[in-house]
């Protein structure tokens, strides 16, 4: 069955991020001028405005900052999975991102749960970044 949920349309800002995911790498933009690491992958460093960003592999370690159990079919293609968890995770490098958790039951999700990045090849040409429990 083909994947019907929303997917990003990679553009000049985030194409390197999603391309790396296809290759099984979790990368983040780094600023060679001030050392900042940020997400989402804006073109310019939001701290010093430098245009010289470079993508570097990140640790992939994160913690659950907060989460919800979505009960409303706002995103129609997610309706069959209701109620499902969306977590906001804080990466070890600092930035936050939304994600879905792999292999963790809804009632096992807790703030502070330690996570490791994982890769979900949802389509031949698209791999999503997700997180699983860190052993």
């Amino acid at each position: 069955m083909s994947y019907t949920k929303p997917l990003p349309t990679p553009n000049k800002e985030d194409a390197p991020f999603w391309q790396a995911a296809r290759e099984g790498k979790f990368v983040l933009p780094n600023c060679p001028d001030c050392g900042n690491i940020w997400f989402p992958p804006y073109l310019y460093c939001p701290r010093c405005l430098s245009p010289k960003r470079v993508f570097k592999e990140a640790s992939g370690r994160a913690e659950v900052w907060g989460f919800i159990e979505m009960a409303q079919p706002y995103v129609k293609s997610f309706a069959p999975e209701l109620p499902y968890i969306v977590a906001l995770v804080q990466l070890e490098e600092g930035p936050i991102m939304f994600t879905n958790l792999v292999g963790i039951k809804n009632d096992e999700v807790k703030v502070g749960l330690k996570l490791q990045v994982c890769f979900d090849p949802v389509k031949d040409d698209f791999t999503l970044i997700k997180f699983k429990r860190r052993e």
Binding site: P6, M70, F98, V111
Partner: protein, 388 residues
């Protein structure tokens, strides 16, 4: 420079609002935001005794176009004009910007309104198309890719964090929705005039767990508006002036709009910038008016401004703490949870009634100063006073 120069120099002198209750019961796809706004302008003029030709400032929120409103309302001599998107975060900003125009002589009498027809137009607030519409969007943090949608879900997510840090049950949280919604029962204009118990709250369905339907503001039609002028000119008008004692704003834009520290730092800045120029302290505030898009906004502000100790807001507000007759009556009209969702503008109308002493069954005895705040990516606040 300080906002002290403008403290109590500008006043709300006329108010108007739709009968939200009746509009809600009778959705009408042909209803226009302009017709509701013209009704409100007529009320506001009658309220203060001004003529339409006196109005030389216009601030519109939520119209399909200020030009169309201008033609239909016959305003021909507008010197100050500003047009705002329908956004609660702009409620305090719009009022204060207009107050500066009045204070500086750009406008003598300025009419401001916000008008929406969400119910009649069956608008959605899923963020897929912000405030309605169909535009596909994956959100600033690829929200929808992960099934994340709606502003309420962001608040809900912050509450799981709050619970992990400080505790607090869903029944504790329910106190906010119940106490504010019960004020609606005393307001004949309120959309919902039913009283609720914690049991009702706990029976209401989850939208984004841990938040329930009753934690959410309404989706409705209606308009709220007011006329402002200088404190000097206000003396010659029909009503007791309600002075703008101060304004503060702290813009904290980020890729998701819930503040990671629950707005504690932002409220600290607002508190300083609001209370010093007004010459007031927390003890001088008899009532709170919160931009209650979600019940949680009350909790964040109680703790952020320091009415309640950090992490203890839910305990603090128990036993009617934010109800009429309680420690700090909050959103006495029922707010946006029960009266109507007019992006904060209806709250300003209620503040005016309270400070005039015309809030009928909801009147707070000896009220002198009311704090209004909204917490979003643009946290801001206003203090209103009935003492010059």
């Amino acid at each position: 420079m300080s906002t002290k120069d403008i403290a109590r120099k500008v006043a709300i002198v006329g108010i108007g609002s739709s009968d939200y209750h009746t509009l809600y019961k009778n959705p009408d796809p042909t209803r226009t935001r302009e017709e509701m706004a013209i009704d409100v302008m007529r009320q506001a003029l009658d309220d203060c005794g001004l003529k339409r030709s006196d109005i030389d400032g216009l601030v519109t929120g939520g119209t399909s176009g200020y030009e169309d409103f201008g033609y239909r309302s016959g305003l021909t001599d507008v010197r100050y004009l500003a047009d705002y998107p329908v956004a609660g975060r702009m409620c305090a900003s719009a009022l204060f910007s207009a107050a500066m125009a009045v204070h500086n002589g750009v406008s003598d009498y300025c009419f401001l309104f916000n008008s929406v027809a969400f119910k009649s137009l069956a608008m959605k607030f899923d963020m897929a198309g912000q405030y309605g519409g169909d535009a596909a969007s994956t959100g600033p943090l690829y929200n929808e890719v992960y099934g994340m949608a709606s502003p309420g879900a962001l608040y809900a997510l912050a509450f799981t964090r709050y619970q992990a840090m400080y505790g607090g049950t869903e029944a504790d949280l329910g106190e906010i929705a119940v106490q504010i919604r019960n004020h609606g029962a005393l307001n004949p204009q309120a959309i919902f005039q039913k009283t609720h118990t914690i049991e009702d709250y706990l029976k209401s369905r989850y939208i984004a767990k841990p938040l329930r339907l009753l934690d959410y503001c309404l989706v409705n039609d209606g308009c709220a508006g007011y006329i402002i002028t200088s404190a000097e000119r206000a003396k010659d008008l029909k009503q007791k002036p309600v002075y703008l004692a101060s304004f503060a704003q702290r813009v904290t834009l980020r890729p998701q709009y819930v503040d990671p520290d629950f707005w504690v730092e932002a409220c600290g800045v607002l508190k300083k910038d609001l209370f010093e120029p007004a010459g007031l302290t927390l003890k001088d505030i008899q009532s709170l008016s919160v931009y209650d898009n979600f019940s949680l906004s009350v909790l964040w502000g109680l703790e952020g401004f320091g009415f309640a100790p950090k992490g203890q807001g839910l305990q603090w507000l128990k036993n009617g703490g934010i109800s009429l007759g309680g420690k700090l009556p909050t959103n006495t009209s029922g707010g946006m949870l029960a009266e109507a969702y007019l992006q904060g503008w209806n709250n300003i109308v209620e503040i005016t009634k309270q400070l005039r002493g015309t809030a009928d069954k909801r009147q707070i005895k000896d009220v002198k100063n009311i704090l209004y705040y909204g917490l979003s990516a643009v946290p801001n606040g206003l203090i209103f006073s009935n003492e010059a």
